[in-house]
Amino acid sequence: MENLIQSLTERVKQAASNNTPLAIHGGNSKSFYGGAIRGDALDLRAYTGIIDYEPKELVLTVRAGTPLQEIETALEAAGQMLPFEPPYYADTATIGGTVATGLSGPRRPYTGAVRDFVLGTRIINGKGEDLSFGGRVIKNVAGYDVSRLMTGAMGTLGVLLDISFKVLPKPTDEITLRFEMDEATAIQRFNEWAGKPLPISATSWHQGVAMVRLSGAAAGVKAAREKLGGEAVADAQAFWRDLRDHRAPFFEDAEPLRRLSVPSTTSPLSLDLPQWIEWGGALRWVKGAADVKVLREKIASVGGHATLFRHGDKSVGVFHPLAPVLAKIHVNLKAAFDPDNILNPGRMDNFS
């Protein structure tokens, strides 16, 4: 593997000296996401395998090209999980792409996002330097938190090599409750419930139906179920998996799909577009044609940001534009890590 790292750093150095962009990829399960891809492919799939996993430690270290499935299988065998419930979008998903895109699944509001569980990274920066930040320990304040900065940076600051995560025990019991209620009520209930000590692990609202997942020890789940009411759902696992991976019919047509990340208490957006709500109200998926400028203004006015997630016209920008002062810091950071602008250029398209 050290030979492989050697050759990867050589590729980056060469790309930097010839000024030829590199398009970093794993299983291409999330290649639809983010700004347009350009450059020579830099395939990380050969850089694969679990480096270190000791369940007692709650820490896992893996190579970026490792299939997500392989990781989740290993964790499952020890009764543990990646607490951010990573979306796959395709079976080929690798852990590197998961961290680079920074996307989390239904459990996110209740246990945390990818970035919350990343403890350390080894990366190659745009100069071809092999660097390590953070570590394999839960508490670490030596130096700036570069590992979390890498999370969600779309590979524009470095090629991810090794990543360490904090993992958690997997709850032994799970139940999903179904409620019929309108959007405004669902948003209100989700927020009320989140303010109580209840073992909620996911929430969803779509077309007049709210779903709430409870996870924990059997007795705790049972007690919470009695408090909440609703009707138990059979085969709920498939429901949450389909929502996580956008396999529900709502997500399957070719309409532009937008990801609206807003404060959870934001009242119904009334956009007149088909909508699916997750994350206790903090994530609202909408699809169909929209005036991007108006939409962005509206979302910004409630304190959120809008992303064109899939399909649609990327030329107007995928990510929400940044305020000029913020954009300046982004440009500076990009120049610090990748002075020749060769790593996934344009993949994060809201600055420069």
């Binding site: 970035r115 130096g143 938190d145 007690a223 903090a282 990510f319």
Partner: protein, 483 residues
């Protein structure tokens, strides 16, 4: 004092609270890392972000260094002033804004005390989870700057997991909002970079924190062990049993004895090590965990297990734990504490190596620490009046931190680098990594005026270090619990 600068300040507002009188500056000459001190050119206590921005703009135009200070409880020297610079003291920016119980957030000024946030949220049965032992007095701005932890961060996370949004003012005076009240924000995760940046990237002028529901039920256990190794094994086994305790703390015999002598905590004196374990959550869930934890403790040869039967008993146990460092000050006149973190599985081995090293150096070392996080706080005792002892203790501390790095850990889990661990930064990071840190700083603070010389050693200078020195048994802030 720089006359041009003073004129600038008076133009900002005549009411600006600028201190230039040497005697009134003395209280600001150090933080809780008392072995270094410096009196700044002046100290200013701004009232709001507009004043902060204007002060920074004139300092950067004139190339004057600026150090920010919250409550001054930092123990790595982060808030020690520059002699030729301005010290911005943010204690007056202590306004608690909206506590939004629906959204479970609170908007607070950087000078607000950590505990005041939980107090403000208590009426809604919510609290702010990160609980450094200094929480009575340390400021939220300081917590963000240090990414502070607490005894409950094993389950609830560090500051970085509990802060949603900050207002940041850069050295040039530009203000911005980082993060958001949503669960993520567009662009790079700058919140992550700023949290734990020790005042070197910008000034935090407002913080939106996440509030957590107060758990329905809490259980606190004290377990006594015949050996440190048994206790250390139990730590791993508890977590291996699928339980993530709210807190999991360990103390060795020397600490047990000191606590007993100092506070009569009722700790079993025949034990070699104690674990303090807290479980919280839904009542039924806690009951289930309690059974599993007791099983593990028995399997690991616990000689005694005590369960707090009331809130008063629980408080007594925590008071003893949080008072441990004050108790240790009764053993020998001087000690300092280090703050390395290691992978939990290395606990038995590293503790054994520490004991061996302590013997080699013929020095006393006591251990009381966040075992669940693998965050060690060995206390090395010395007598500053014996020539060479302090130097030897510093050398020993350095070796202990190097062991942390060797087993895959870090030189600081929660206290920060400041001026204290600059040298160990060179052990943990290679040149290109340190250069990356300098480049990140330049991306935020191109003028290089914020907290110069701290946090990241210059590439040529990797030679300075110290410790949390306790002289003559007089420790900084002896009135509040330690770590």
């Amino acid at each position: 004092m720089n006359a041009g600068l003073l004129a600038d300040f008076s133009r900002i507002t005549p009411a600006l609270n600028v201190i230039t009188d040497h005697e009134r500056l003395r209280p600001f000459e150090t933080d809780a890392f008392i072995s270094h001190r410096a009196v700044p050119m002046c100290a200013i206590l701004p009232e709001d972000e507009t004043q902060v921005a204007a002060i920074l703009a004139s300092c950067s135009a004139r190339g004057v260094p600026v150090v920010t200070r919250g409550a001054g409880t930092g123990i790595s020297g982060g808030a020690i002033p520059s002699e030729d610079g301005v010290l911005l003291v943010l204690t007056r920016m202590n306004h608690i804004g909206k506590v939004d119980h629906q959204a479970r957030t609170a908007t607070v000024g950087p000078g607000v005390r950590n505990l005041a946030v939980s107090d403000a949220a208590a009426a809604h049965n919510l609290f702010y989870a990160p609980d450094p032992s200094s929480q009575l007095i340390c400021s939220i701005g300081g917590n963000v700057a240090e990414n502070s932890g607490g005894v409950h961060c094993l389950k609830y996370g560090l500051t970085t997991h509990n802060v949603l949004q900050v207002r940041l003012v850069l050295s040039g005076g530009e203000s911005m909002t980082l993060g958001s009240r949503a669960l993520d924000a567009a662009g790079y995760d700058l919140m992550a970079v700023v949290t734990g940046s020790e005042g070197m990237l910008g000034l935090v002028t407002e913080v939106v924190v996440k509030l957590t529901p107060v758990p329905e039920h809490v259980e606190t256990l004290l377990a006594a062990f015949p050996s440190v190794t048994d206790a250390a094994n139990a730590v791993g086994r508890i977590i291996g049993a699928g339980v993530v305790p709210a807190a999991l703390e360990m103390m060795d015999k020397m600490v047990i004895e000191a606590c007993e002598k100092f506070m009569s905590a009722g700790f079993p004196l025949d034990a070699e090590a104690l674990l303090l374990i807290e479980l919280d959550g839904v009542r039924e869930e806690v009951a289930d965990q309690l059974v599993r934890v007791e099983q593990v403790l028995n399997d690991c040869h616990a000689q005694e297990i005590r369960r707090a039967k009331s809130d008063a008993e629980r408080e007594k146990l925590w008071k003893a734990r949080k008072g441990a460092f004050a108790a240790l000050a009764t053993i020998r006149p001087d000690y300092y504490t280090i703050d390395g973190t290691i992978p939990r599985r290395c606990l038995p081995d590293v503790l054994a190596r520490y004991t061996q090293l302590a013997e080699e150096y013929r020095m006393l070392v006591a251990n009381v620490f966040h075992a669940g996080d693998g965050n060690l706080h060995p206390c090395i005792f010395y007598d500053a009046t014996v020539p060479g002892e302090m130097e030897r203790s510093e050398e020993l501390g350095g070796k202990m931190l190097e062991i942390c790095v060797e087993v895959g850990g870090t030189i600081t889990g929660e206290h920060g680098v400041g001026v204290e661990k600059l040298r160990q930064m060179c052990v943990q990071f290679r040149e290109a990594e340190l250069a990356t840190f300098h480049a990140i700083k330049a991306a935020f603070d191109p003028a290089g005026i914020l907290n110069p010389g701290k946090g990241v050693p210059s590439l040529k200078r990797c030679a300075e270090w110290g410790g949390m020195h306790v002289r003559e048994g007089k420790m900084p802030r002896a009135d509040i619990p330690r770590f």
